[in-house]
């Protein structure tokens, strides 16, 4: 009678997560006044599939993430500051006042990558240390909700990071002005961010429950992110070129998109296995 639910039985979570109606449950019907007591609600919720509430749960998780981040400010300011500092370091390391083309694209992507790793390292730490996993696992919700919430959180962090880092880059190191190349650059960054978020979340969940979590996270993530760097840097390079800057080659956008899609699916399929016991 019970339908298969991803996460509970450990099967790869492939079923849809769009809001569906609750399956007619075997247990309690709502009270006459329409206001359900918690017990009735539990029985109803327990009998129904958890999919219908996934959106609400993701919202609740996201809200919790952003609240904690705003209170502690332990991820985003660090990431942004790291990026700006790294640009300064590059200036001295390369002994250049301004860069363009391939070099500019490379510096930008490497810096963003390492700053993102900082955020990835901290993504699940609060949950692992303060029992957040247990709290979530006890709730009658679709386990994938945590994946979505964390990916969205990381995306938000990356967005703020780039809000600071890209203008800083334009100011400190970039030779040609960003100007009309900016919308295309934003598009490329967005595609890259999706991949970084998907892989970063998966790797963060993998690393956080190990002993050397701060070391294993980057070691796992960097090779997996190399194709993103390839696609992102190659796509950005013509945008940051001196003189007449052309648009990004479609080939690289496709590479990024394909990579995002594949690893997004993989993260979705495997994430439940990292949570359950």
């Amino acid at each position: 009678m019970s339908a298969t639910i991803p996460g509970a039985s450990g099967a790869a979570g492939g079923s849809g997560h769009s809001g569906g109606a609750e399956a007619p449950g075997g247990a309690g019907a709502p009270g006459a006044s329409g206001e359900r007591t918690p017990a009735e609600r539990n029985r109803r919720a327990g009998a129904a599939q958890p999919h219908g509430r996934t959106l609400a749960v993701v919202r609740a998780l996201l809200r919790k993430e952003l609240l904690v981040e705003l209170r502690t400010l332990e991820s985003v300011p660090g990431m942004a500051l790291f990026a700006v500092t790294t640009f300064v370091v590059f200036h001295f390391a390369l002994n250049r006042d301004s860069v363009d083309g391939d070099l500019a694209a490379g510096i930008l992507w490497v810096t963003l990558l390492f700053a993102a790793i900082l955020g990835v390292n901290r993504l699940f730490v609060a949950d692992a240390d303060q029992g957040g996993f247990d709290a979530f696992l006890l709730a009658p919700v679709d386990r994938s909700a945590m994946l979505f919430a964390k990916v969205l959180t990381l995306l938000a962090y990356l967005f703020v990071l780039e809000l600071v880092a890209v203008p800083a880059f334009g100011l400190l190191l970039l030779g040609p002005s960003l100007g009309h190349a900016l919308p295309a650059l934003i598009g490329v960054l967005a595609l890259g961010d999706l991949g970084i978020a998907a892989i970063g979340t998966l790797v963060a969940a993998l690393a956080v429950q190990t002993r050397a979590r701060d070391l294993l996270g980057p070691l796992l993530a960097l090779p997996l992110l190399v194709p993103i760097v390839i696609g992102g840097a190659r796509a950005s390079s013509p945008l940051l070129a001196l003189g007449h800057s052309s648009g990004p080659a479609v080939r690289w956008l496709l590479t990024l998109g394909l990579y995002d899609l594949v690893f997004g699916l993989i993260a979705f399929a495997l994430f439940d296995f990292l949570l359950e016991d």
Binding site: L206, A212, L220, L224, I230, I266, F273
Partner: protein, 295 residues
């Protein structure tokens, strides 16, 4: 249902131990002989029969070692991912062990690939490392990724979680291998006609030599893996038996048994109480257990 039957009736929810009658050692000798035979033939062909290539001369013969090593290692990595999927589906720790051994062996073959590739590069282009050889470059990235496999396992103490997380890693990395190759190849400015692409227009003597060599390396891989699996499995069974003997004494004294030392290598999660058909010694033990009423 007897307690023993119920123990195994859990289906995919139960972590099964060495329940099936798998004899890892079976066929090991035949395989070893075959490996040595084929590899000897391959070496003979490489050195005495295959024609010298015009451009590179004798150095080109490394191709017969380097490329099969690369292919085998890559397939081994992907196989490790496939075994990991089987583990997640069945929760049978034997799949986890196979996944571990496949990846472990592929890593070793990967080192060999990089070394032989480096020698070839030095001979052909004068540098120990070249960036314009996309296969070599993607191999380096894959190698760097899989080098974290053992540290990852070693950093997780709970054995069941270790297997599960390692499986997730193996699947992710296994999917990464082909994608990485595509990405690196697309980014390479110069596509060298050598290596994998070259096999299509080889003279037939070279092609044959290559195939024999490939077969030899694949057999070597399989034999080494089987050997390692057998050793591990035997060690696990020994340990399980020892625990069974210890526990018999401990249970009456009410002492908790000690856990095994941490290691990066997975083990078959054999609880000593399992009715193991491979070992006749445990037969009477399980029968006795069936007779004892469950408290």
């Amino acid at each position: 249902m007897s307690p023993a039957r119920r123990y195994f009736a859990g289906g995919s929810d139960t972590t099964r131990s060495s329940a099936g009658a798998v004899r890892y050692g079976a066929g090991l000798r035949t395989l070893s002989v075959a490996t040595i035979a084929v590899m000897t033939i391959a070496l003979a062909l490489v050195f005495f029969w295959a024609p010298l290539e015009a451009e590179q001369g004798f150095l080109q013969k490394i191709f017969y070692v380097h490329v099969p090593l690369a292919i085998t290692a890559l397939c081994g990595f992907v196989l490790g991912g496939i075994f990991a999927i089987a583990y997640l589906r069945t929760r049978d720790s034997r799949w986890d062990m196979r996944s571990y051994v496949a990846i472990h062996m592929s890593l070793i073959f990967g080192v060999a690939t990089l070394i032989t590739g480096s020698i070839w590069a030095k001979g052909s282009w004068g540098h120990w490392w070249v960036w314009n050889e996309p296969t070599l470059v993607s191999f380096l990235i894959v190698f760097l990724l899989y080098a974290t496999y053992q540290p990852l396992r070693f950093a997780i103490e709970d054995p069941e979680r270790q297997s599960r997380y390692a499986a997730v890693f193996a699947i992710t990395a296994g999917a990464f291998v082909p994608l990485n190759f595509i990405a690196v190849r697309a980014s390479s400015a110069y596509l060298h006609p050598r290596v994998l692409g070259a096999t299509s227009n080889l003279p037939w003597q070279m092609a044959l030599t290559f195939l024999v060599s490939l077969l030899g390396i694949v057999l070597l891989f399989t034999t080494l893996c089987k050997y390692e699996l057998t050793v591990k499995h035997t060690r696990m069974q020994l340990r399980a038996l020892r625990r069974l003997a210890e526990r018999r004494e401990d249970v009456t004294a009410g002492v908790a048994p000690t856990s095994r030392p941490r290691s990066a290598a997975p083990g078959v999660h054999a609880t000593a109480m399992s009715a193991n058909p491979v070992h006749p010694a445990s037969g009477p033990a399980s029968a006795e257990r069936a007779r004892r009423p469950s408290s």
